[in-house]
């Protein structure tokens, strides 16, 4: 919490600290998520997969990381 290099974000409804300067690509790697199977919504906007390495995570960002599960 005292790490000056960490910024607060919301990931799937929970407050988390992530390293400052991390990209969305880096965030998915840190979470061990396969970018081909996960959809990223950032501040209510769906992020195009081609932009993951270009988009930096900013303090206060709200992310929803979703995928397909069993359903009827």
């Amino acid at each position: 919490m005292t790490d000056p290099e960490a910024i607060p974000v919301t990931l799937n409804g929970k407050d988390r600290l992530v390293p400052a300067g991390i990209t969305v690509k880096g965030l998915l790697e840190a979470l061990e998520l396969n970018p081909a199977l996960v959809v990223v919504e950032r501040n209510r906007e769906i992020l195009d997969r081609g932009r993951y390495s270009a988009v930096g995570v900013e303090a206060g960002d709200v992310f929803e990381l979703v995928h397909f599960v069993g359903g009827g």
Binding site: L11, N12, G13, K14, L31, E32, L33, A36, L37, V38, V39, E41, R44, I46, R49, E64, L65, V66, H67, F68, V69, G70, G71, G72
Partner: protein, 274 residues
């Protein structure tokens, strides 16, 4: 010589009866059964039951990845999207706005622009909010989605959903997960009679006879999940459903005898002994 039919010919497992293709949008299906992937005890059973059912299209839901679990596998680790056409749903949504958000997320996954649109209006019965469904359908069709809309067994809502551009309209047999079967076959037949798009009965089928009776109404297909997933033996029930859907379709095409409330003897009344 009398041909000995009884000993030389076996009844065929399947019959070639003239039928129109089961076409949704621009796609033909050989199976009239669409199955869900929820509620299974394990993934191996799910895959076995889907294979046994013969379904080519399967529904999936969009949910948050559970970031606290080390195993973050989604369903596509078990279900090859090359082998099954995925039909993402908007289950759990209670407003047009929510359903549109889930639909866009589903399409962004990159597998399909097909969508099972489902907007619930009441927590207890899980009956659909048809007004919100029609509104959402208009928006999503405008965005290029192929919308299969879950709705009530109500003709007017079904007509409006067709007008909105849905590729299929999916009235319920009875409430989701109830297993009550078709509670209103007359309304289902009326919807089938009046709409041009395929009618797929979605929700309420409990066992094979329900599926068969549903198909006997002349609808194009059936979508089910719980009936197979929570059976004691889901793989066997998947197979039973495959046969029931086929049997119901054949019976519909064959044209049933009229039902009447008086008995009519099957054997001749003439030629009886004194």
């Amino acid at each position: 010589m009398v041909e000995d039919l009884g000993r030389t010919s076996k009844p065929r497992e399947t019959m070639d009866v003239k039928d129109t293709p089961f076409r949704i949008g621009d796609r033909d299906f050989s199976s009239r059964l669409i199955v869900g992937t929820g509620k299974y005890e394990d993934n191996a059973t799910m895959v076995g039951a889907i294979r046994a059912s013969g379904a080519e299209m399967v529904t999936v839901a969009v949910r948050r990845v559970d970031l606290d679990r080390t195993n973050k596998e989604g369903i596509l680790h078990h279900l090859d999207p090359e082998k099954f056409l995925l039909l993402p749903n908007t289950a759990g949504c209670y407003s047009a706005e929510d359903a549109i958000r889930y639909a866009r997320l589903a399409r962004a996954a990159g597998f399909t622009d097909w969508l099972k649109l489902e907007i619930i209006g009441d927590e207890k019965t899980l009956l659909p909010d048809t007004h919100a469904t029609i509104d959402a359908a208009k928006t999503l069709v405008g965005e290029g989605f192929k919308v299969l809309a879950y709705t009530n067994d109500d003709l007017i809502s079904a007509l409006r959903l067709e007008d909105a551009g849905c590729v299929a309209v999916m009235p319920l047999a009875s409430p989701i997960g109830s297993g009550l079967g078709v509670v209103n076959p007359y309304y289902i037949r009326e919807i089938k009679d009046r709409l041009q798009v395929p009618i797929i009965v979605d929700a309420g089928v409990g066992t094979a006879s329900d599926a068969c009776i549903t198909m006997e109404q002349g609808v194009d297909g059936v979508l089910m999940n719980t009936a197979i997933a929570v059976a004691d033996d889901p793989v066997a029930m998947g197979h039973a459903m495959r046969l029931a859907i086929r049997a119901g379709r054949l019976a519909y095409l064959a044209g049933r005898m009229p039902s009447r409330e008086i008995a009519v003897p099957s054997s001749p009344t003439q030629g009886m002994l004194d």
